[in-house]
């Protein structure tokens, strides 16, 4: 979004509050009708996308000056993009992009990122991960039985969260690829944070540093395909990196890859996983994973006050997010009884972790996770699964906080259970490294 578009759009909010709800036509119950975790928690209109657009306008008009209070409101948003899906059903506003640009504006004026976010940005710059963990420990998940092919053209980009916090996801992913004889390499000591946690805070300059660093390294390796088990890293490489620097890598999420491997019989699903499972769509794998398309058209002034774009500008509404691959996998795993939640796909409810919220506002992140866990519980599912280690962390935290009987497994863990020998229990098949 350029300056001109931003300045035009912030004047056009209708204050209709559609951004607070899932698409009106998808509402199935009163309980699960909302889409925005921020206003669900904080209630004042300022905490909705519409409210933040008004703040953007008020700043431009000089009615408000940047302040801690504005920071607080603008950063209490997971940037999940649910508002954009609902708004853009009929409108041409870009609520999420306005919020992203508003953060960049605040950062440029010295009002952001939030202190905890600044801390993790420092950690990324110094230690190449946001967790303040030694870089040297990044490969601790890698056990001896996992086969890496240093000559492979496919790279498994593990990501910080899988490397340090959700090692079971990295292990399961690697084992699945081994089971399919899918050759892959890893970057070893040369894997650095993708930059997603930085980007979401509005610190664009630091993000661009990360982009250049990573692309330089990966290009030198002669990589053709990059596989991600983290939705955040996937989204960053697929959608955000090309805005700053072109690259020619084919970007795949593990759910896409694994589904292909199952269909081509390279993965044999031998074991029953007798569980009722529901799936949480990660925002970065779902509605936010559509790349930006170049538009080569013209704006036609049809009459005074009315212009239209010919051809129509592509609208990123989450239409082409990755929704079916994970579902296909779950349906193919023998024994799984798959049940949907009410808020799914492009109108999925956020887990609560994104946008720097997990660090800056942990209570907000946790409350949102609990809301999502309750929705999962209401399906009658025993297991909630997803395809993002960051969702995994926050949803797990939500399960613990709520005292829920639900269990969380990443989709790779469930798939591994279906691949492993029958004698291994669910517990044994995953979480082998603490």
């Amino acid at each position: 979004m350029n300056e001109q578009e931003y300045n035009q759009m912030i004047k056009r909010c209708l204050r209709c509050s559609i951004c607070k709800w899932i698409p009106q036509l998808q509402i199935k119950s009163q309980k699960y009708a909302t889409i925005c975790p921020s206003i669900d928690m904080f209630n004042f209109h300022a905490y909705s996308a519409g409210g933040r657009i008004i703040i953007a306008l008020a700043l431009e008009m000089g009615r408000l000056k940047p302040s801690q209070e504005i920071m607080d409101i603008v950063y209490k948003c997971t940037e999940c993009g649910g508002c954009a899906v609902s708004c853009k059903f009929l409108n041409t506003l870009e609520p999420l992009e306005i919020i992203v640009k508003l953060r960049e504006r605040l950062v440029s004026l010295g009002y952001g990122p939030m202190p905890k976010q600044q801390q993790y940005i420092k950690s990324i710059k110094k230690k190449n991960n946001p967790y303040e963990e030694p870089h040297g420990k990044r490969l601790e998940w890698l056990s001896n039985d996992i086969k890496i092919d240093p000559n492979a053209k496919a790279l498994y980009f593990v990501g910080c969260t899988s490397s340090y916090r959700r090692k079971e996801i990295a292990i399961a992913t690697a084992r699945i690829m081994n089971a399919a004889n899918y050759s892959f390499k890893i970057l070893n000591d040369n894997e650095f944070c993708c930059g997603s946690p930085i980007l979401r805070t509005g610190d664009k300059d630091s993000f661009i540093e990360q982009v250049n660093k990573n692309i330089d390294i990966i290009e030198k390796e002669g990589i053709e395909t990059i596989v991600f088990s983290c939705a955040g890293c996937y989204n960053t490489f697929k959608v955000e990196y090309p805005l700053e620097r072109e690259h020619n890598f084919k970007i795949l999420h593990t759910t896409e890859l694994f589904n292909e491997l199952i269909d081509s019989s390279k993965l044999k699903l031998n074991n029953q996983v007798l569980q009722t499972v529901t799936y949480h769509d990660p925002c970065h794998l779902g509605r936010n994973s559509e790349p930006y398309e170049e538009w080569d058209g013209e704006a036609l002034q049809m009459m005074p006050l009315v212009s239209l774009n010919m051809p129509e500008k592509p609208k990123r509404c989450g239409t082409y997010g990755i929704y079916e691959s994970p579902r296909d996998i779950l349906k193919k795993i023998p024994g799984i009884n798959f049940i949907e939640m009410e808020r799914i796909k492009e109108y999925s409810y956020c887990c609560g972790a994104g946008g720097g919220v997990k660090s800056a506002f942990p209570k907000f992140a946790l409350q949102t996770a609990k809301t999502r866990i309750e929705e999962a519980e209401d399906t009658g599912a025993e297991i909630i699964t997803s395809a993002c280690p960051f969702c995994s962390t926050n949803l797990n935290d939500g399960i613990i906080e709520k005292g829920s009987n639900l269990r969380f497994y990443d989709i790779s863990e469930l798939l591994l259970m279906a691949l492993d020998s029958p004698k291994k229990s669910i517990k044994e098949s995953s979480k082998e490294v603490t």
Binding site: G297, E298, L300, M302, M303, L308, M310
Partner: protein, 138 residues
Amino acid sequence: MAESNQENKKIRGFAVLINSILTPLNENKRFKEKFRNINTKILLNASNLNHAAIIVVDNGLVRVESIPNKPKENLKKQKIGWDAFLEMDTQTFLAIAMNRLSLLGVAKMWLTRRVKMCGIRKLLILLKMFKFLTSYNS
């Protein structure tokens, strides 16, 4: 070479709109029947935009091409080989296309040079085409 031919064939601007309006006629059996012996090329220029639309009717099939409307020489008959020419601003075009401007109204606009036209007999084909948009597709 192939790429630049492709680039040349790509329609732009106003022509994209005309294309989206008229090419559904290709699915209209009655239209195809009625126009099966008609071959004509009509230039439709929106004077306030950057591209003109060249409407080609080829034995009952419609296709639309585009051409930049500047310089003026681009639109000359010798260059394009049109059989009829209609130029007006987009607002007037909408009024005509949506049947809000009578023939008398068009005539008035022609007299005051807000509408320019040439090859009136062939232009009537264009008018018939627009009328066909509201005919029943049996």
